[in-house]
């Protein structure tokens, strides 16, 4: 990049006006502007340059450009200048690079430099525009630290959840098994109440076992995001329906769908999401033959999937509660399940960067929506 272009740009403006304009701009910008001659001596600095490096202008004029560079960059700089003068080849002219600047007081700070060269009356000049990026660098470092902290915390949490659930299962298994053994071996020896108490203990322990299993599964979501792949949702839906064939047939359900897109997702988790939503639609059916319709609407930056059913519906006042772990809206005897299904759906959707919600009215079915980003083409 040389001066000749710029002289064409400004050809129609009187020299003095142009000079004044450039001076004003130069003095107003926050970035430092420093020009040096062919020998590498500073011939011009703007106000910001002086402030940035802690010198007065006079202190910089005539000094070698290397004065504002830490020791370790000086050789490279000098070699570069010589190479350019001799061969016209350059590694940094015309580009923006990140290096460090050296202040008068000896302290260093991170900078971004754009270096250009230009000719005037056959003389070679270099101009550097220098930006103090300490703020940005600090922010980046802070972000890195927080991210590492978050990753560590998540990892700890997952480990905790796994160990807690895993180790909890053992004593639970003993309780469940031995109560059943009691039931079997001492069948005649308990009266009705005794039998009832034991039945309740068994049921509770089996339910607890299921909750622990569900919690384990829930805690594991979000740790496979490295396994994202292209998923054809139409095919996925067919697979999930095949898996649920028994339940669907038993309920004489009719499942229909529009064309579904291909998305980037974790296949197994997405299948689980579909499965849970379908399972709910079937579980919470009404007297009428269940009709479930799945579609995906194009919303520009993302897809909006919807699972619509004609089941018993949900009161909108529970719009948040349904997505909470182990929160149930119904009596356990009427509708089995630990109440983690939708919490799991929410976690899966959110791990894919989307949102999940529903629209419903008691007695009028429900539609569950979730968003998922479009594939980057």
């Amino acid at each position: 990049m040389t001066t000749d272009k710029s002289s064409n740009l400004f050809a129609h403006i009187p020299e003095s006006v142009l000079e004044r304009k450039l001076q004003v701009i130069s003095e107003t910008v926050l970035d430092a502007i420093i020009s040096a001659d062919g020998k590498g001596c500073v011939v011009y600095v703007n106000g910001s340059a002086a402030t940035m490096f802690g010198y007065s202008r006079d202190e910089l004029i005539g000094m070698p450009l290397t004065i504002i560079m830490p020791e370790r960059y000086r050789n490279l700089h000098e070699t570069g200048i010589r190479r350019f003068s001799a061969t016209g080849q350059t590694k940094i002219i015309g580009q923006t690079i990140e290096v460090a600047g050296l202040r008068k007081d000896g302290t260093e700070f991170p900078v971004e430099i754009s270096l250009t060269n230009w000719n005037s009356d056959g003389n070679q000049f270099f101009t550097a525009v220098i930006r103090d990026i300490s703020g940005r660098k600090n922010a980046e470092l802070e972000l890195q630290r927080w991210t590492a902290e978050l990753e560590r915390s998540n990892s700890d949490l997952q480990q905790f959840a796994y160990i807690a659930s895993h180790d909890l299962q053992e004593p639970l298994r003993m309780i469940a098994s031995y109560i059943q053994a009691l039931q079997e071996d001492y069948a005649g020896k308990f009266d009705e109440n005794g039998e009832e108490y034991m039945r309740i203990i068994v049921e509770s322990s089996l339910r607890m076992r299921k909750m622990i299993e569900d919690l384990l599964e829930y805690s594991r979501v979000g740790y496979h995001l490295d396994k994202m792949e292209d998923v054809d949702c139409s095919k996925l839906l067919v697979q999930v329906c095949e898996l649920m064939n028994d339940v669907t047939t038993k309920n004489c359900a009719r499942i229909t769908h529009n064309h579904l897109p291909v998305v980037t997702a974790h296949g197994v988790l997405l299948a689980r999401l579909f499965q849970n939503l379908l399972s709910n639609a079937l579980k919470f059916r009404s007297e009428a033959q269940p009709e479930i319709h799945i579609s995906a609407a194009d919303r520009g930056s993302h897809w909006e999937f919807s699972f619509n059913d004609n089941g018993i519906g949900i009161d909108m006042k529970f719009k948040d509660k349904v997505f909470v772990v182990f929160q149930r809206l119904n009596q356990h005897s009427r509708f089995p399940g630990t109440g983690i299904g939708l919490a799991l759906c929410k976690k899966i959707v959110e791990n894919h960067g989307g949102k999940i919600w529903f629209e419903s009215e008691p007695g009028k079915g429900a539609t569950f929506f979730f968003t998922i980003a479009k594939q980057k083409s």
Binding site: Q169, L172, R173, M174, A176, S177, Q180, A181, E184, L206
Partner: protein, 144 residues
Amino acid sequence: MSLERVNILMVEDNEGDIILTKRALAKAKLHLVLQVVRDGDEAMRYLLRKGEFTEASRPDIILLDLNLPKKDGREVLAEIKSDDHLRRIPVVILTTSKAEEDVMKTYSLHANCYITKPVDLNEFNKIIQTLEDFWFTVVKLPKE
């Protein structure tokens, strides 16, 4: 072909599981002799007829838990399957772990099969019954 007497070696440290297994085996039609050892070291001593086990019978089948004190079940499995005299004894892994890594690892070490202990007692009884039916009735076991 069914055996007159079947020697079962159970390697298990959980008292509760030992009693449940005994209980389940008690219903068997076959004459089953159950020997229990409580850790991996004891298991190897028994199988190699060392220490207090010089008069021990050779088991026809081994029920092996994975998480054992002293020597771990996986080590015991590896040692059994690399010993010329012991490797032909079927080893049934009976453990609480459902972990995929455990399943893979133990099959790689030539476990004959892998069973996760169920919570439900009926399921557990069924498994023991199936073990009997399969290993002692359907299957031919090698003579020593």
